[in-house]
């Protein structure tokens, strides 16, 4: 799984373990960055690449679970793979509920870690892809005039042109023109696609109001 366009961050206070994981991940053809403490990781600037964190739970100072909270608070959506020496159930449940991707107990099988990393990177890629698409849609949506947004909102709510004209106090012809512009600007091929776009953008529709 050679992937030079992804990076794996390893945070563990034990240098031997850091080193071992680093060797393993490198051998799998991935870029690795290692950190001894959570603070060190937070201070460091991360490359804008798909990535994931292999995170020790029992870190001195800021613990792994603390770091998970910290990242979430900063809107950093890096997938997290926890590794722990204790691995009790309440702890893993807490970590998974907070969005952890995997919870591995030391010592772990190399393949389990690599699988988890693979999965994490895919998820991050998907997330990043999703974010990109949303950003593009947002851009398109931002290009709409306010009248076009009104029309779009009513269209996705399932109203007929005639009804929309009545709602907005404009002629059906004018509605048709606005509707054509909306479809064009948003790049939607069909009404169904436009509806999906609205959902992804999480725009409140007329139906919700």
């Amino acid at each position: 799984m050679k992937d030079a366009d992804a990076v794996v961050f390893v945070v563990d206070d034990d240098s031997s373990i850091r080193k071992a994981i680093e060797s393993l991940v490198k051998l799998a053809g991935l870029r690795v960055e290692t950190f001894g403490t959570a603070q060190e990781f937070l201070r460091n600037e991360r490359p804008d690449l798909p990535g994931c964190v292999v995170l020790d739970v029992e870190l001195p100072g800021l613990s792994g679970l603390d770091l998970q909270r910290e990242l979430a608070a900063h809107g950093i959506k890096l997938p997290i793979i926890f590794i722990t020496g204790y691995g009790d159930i309440p702890m893993s449940v807490r970590a998974m509920k907070a969005g952890a991707l995997e919870f591995l107990t030391k010592p772990f099988r190399d393949q389990d870690l690599l699988n988890a990393i693979q999965q994490a990177l895919e998820r991050d890629r998907a997330t990043r892809q999703h974010s990109r698409e949303i950003a593009e849609l947002r851009e398109r949506f931002d290009a709409l005039t306010s009248r076009e947004r009104e029309v779009m909102s009513l269209v996705v709510a399932g109203l007929l042109n005639k009804q929309i004209g009545f709602e907005l106090g404009i002629s059906e012809i004018t509605v048709k023109i606005h509707r054509g512009r909306v479809m064009n600007k948003m790049g939607a091929q069909s009404l169904a696609e436009l509806v999906r776009m609205t959902e992804r953008l999480e725009i409140p529709t007329a139906k919700d109001q």
Partner: protein, 553 residues
């Protein structure tokens, strides 16, 4: 009778007034005179009767009564004289006169017989003289008697004095005799007492002469050493010393004989007695020189301390056992931390091993990476092994071994065992270890046990703290000369002085799960090292547990 009485009071004669021719002057002269006489004659017997009644002691007092009767009769005749002036009852008057005559005659007759007797009575003058003589005589007699008595008294007091002197002398003599007898008795008693003390002393007592020959032993010697008294007398005292020490003893003895004093023998050394059968037993010996007319003799009081030694050893063993149990309990508390300490290198080993396998599976070998991975495996395996050895050292049941050690090393090793525990409680641990400390003399495991105890206590004391950092600081420094000082300072809830007093007693605990042995054992360990363990409050928060241990040399 009646006729007689009537006749008696019949006045058939001429009243007497006729004789006076009723000349009133003569009539009244007689009548008044007779009346007055009668009055006087009646008064006199009354006075006499009164007198006689009051003076019962008078001689012949019946004579006075007789006089009274006779005067009374005379008075009545005079009264009758007055009566007969006017009434001629001469018969009655005659009877009364006759009665009076009888009374007068009787009185006169009695008086005749009485006079000689009355004359015989001494006159008052005679009586006075006689009395005076008598009194004089009595006075003289009294004086004589007094003198006599005085003389008598003097004699008596003299006799008494002499008697007392004699008694005193006697007493003194008796006292002296008693004292001498007592002294003799006391001497006898002391002798017996000494013999008893000597004989029945719980210690064996050996008396030797100036040449180290045994001259006297008590029964305990026979019991302790297995020889009979007869066997020992005359033998050199070395007989009672185990074979292996015998050769050196005469020199010791010679030195002691040159400078004798009362002192324990071989201070600081373990001494042994040698039995007849060759067995040895531990003893304490006190030597005392005694001066006698025949030169000095030496008293060796020998105490069998086998029991004491055994008790000491048992105590020692029990303490070591307790410390060991406490260490095991501490390890129990630290299980999570310790397993983590082992698990970390094992995890690294497993992962590196897997890396190696992957490297081996590659078509093009990468020997450099292989070597690096295997070296790391070896390093981590050693690390895991070290942790296990440390734990084994602590868990091992072994006699304390006092060695020269660097306290800072001991502290660092102890920290390795508890650091995970410390971290998992959100506590930050700092050290300020003085460099170039002199080595201390101690048992590494026990000192680490104390340090670990203090660290865990500190961590637990800070569990309730949420409003400030949880910090532990371990300091080591040179204390006074010959002492190294270690302090474990926390920022916990602190300890009030009342609790501080009880903190070190066994079974005292403030923790719900604690046994209350940790500090008690820690203190006994530090004491056994010749140091001190105490607690003092920090200026702001928490407490500082600190101890000292003597340096080696």
């Amino acid at each position: 009778m009646n006729k007689f009485l009537t006749k008696l009071f019949l006045s058939d004669f001429m009243p007497h007034g006729y004789c006076y021719l009723w000349d009133p002057r003569i009539v009244w002269l007689h009548a008044v005179s007779d009346g007055l006489i009668a009055f006087a004659y009646y008064l006199i017997p009354l006075m006499l009767i009164y007198f006689v009644r009051r003076r019962r002691d008078l001689p012949f007092h019946w004579m006075f009564l007789m006089f009274g009767l006779f005067i009374f009769g005379c008075g009545t005749t005079h009264l009758m004289e007055v009566w007969t002036v006017w009434h001629a009852t001469y018969r009655l008057a005659g009877v009364i006169k006759a009665f009076t005559a009888l009374a007068s005659l009787a009185t006169a007759a009695l008086l005749v017989t009485l006079i000689p007797q009355a004359l015989a009575l001494p006159s008052p003058e005679q009586l006075r003289t006689a009395n005076a003589n008598l009194e004089k005589e009595i006075r003289e007699r009294l004086l004589v008697e007094e003198a006599l008595q005085r003389a008598h008294g003097e004699l008596e007091s003299k006799v008494q004095q002499r008697t007392a002197e004699l008694a005193r002398a006697n007493d003194q003599l008796r006292g002296e005799i008693g004292e001498r007898r007592r002294a003799e008795g006391a001497l006898q008693e002391a002798q017996t007492l000494f013999e008893n003390f000597f004989e029945f002393s719980p210690d064996a007592i050996v008396v030797t002469d100036g040449n180290g020959r045994i001259t006297k032993v008590n029964s305990q010697v026979e019991k302790f050493f297995g020889y009979t008294r007869a066997e020992l007398l005359g033998l050199p005292v070395e007989t009672l010393i185990p074979e292996r020490f015998r050769a050196a003893h005469p020199d010791h003895r010679a030195r002691y004989t040159a400078h004798p004093s009362v002192r324990p023998m071989g201070a600081g050394l373990e001494l042994y007695g040698g039995r007849k059968d060759g067995a040895e037993f531990p003893v304490d010996i006190t030597l005392s020189p005694v001066g006698t007319a025949d030169g000095p003799i030496f008293l060796s009081v020998i105490r069998d301390v086998s029991e004491k030694k055994r008790a000491e050893e048992a105590l020692h063993k029990a303490q070591a056992e307790l410390a060991h149990v406490s260490r095991l309990m501490t390890l129990g508390e630290l299980t999570a931390s310790i397993s983590h300490e082992v698990n970390q290198p094992l995890t690294a080993i497993v992962t590196q091993g897997q890396v190696c396998l992957r490297l081996l599976a590659l078509e093009t070998p990468r020997p450099d990476e292989m070597r690096a991975a295997v070296e790391r495996i070896v390093g981590d395996a050693n690390r895991a092994s070290e942790v296990i050895q440390r734990i084994r050292a602590i868990a091992k049941r072994s006699e304390p071994q006092m060695v020269s050690l660097d306290i800072n090393d001991a502290i660092r090793e102890a920290i390795l065992l508890v650091q995970r525990e410390v971290l998992s409680h959100g506590v930050s641990l700092r050290t300020e270890l003085a460099s170039a400390l002199p080595p201390v003399l101690g048992d590494r495991v026990q000192l680490q046990q104390v340090i670990i105890n203090l660290l865990i206590n500190g961590v637990e004391a800070m569990a309730p703290i949420t409003d400030r950092p949880r910090e532990i600081l371990i300091r080591s420094q040179q204390h006074e000369a010959g002492q190294v000082h270690v302090a474990v300072q926390d920022s916990g809830i602190g300890i009030d002085s009342e609790t501080a007093e009880r903190l070190f007693s066994a079974f005292f605990t403030t923790k719900p799960s604690g046994m209350g042995m940790g500090l008690s054992i820690s203190r006994s360990i530090i004491r056994a090292h010749g140091g001190k363990l105490w607690v003092s409050p920090n200026p702001v928060h928490g407490a500082a547990f600190q101890f000292t241990v003597p340096t080696n040399g």
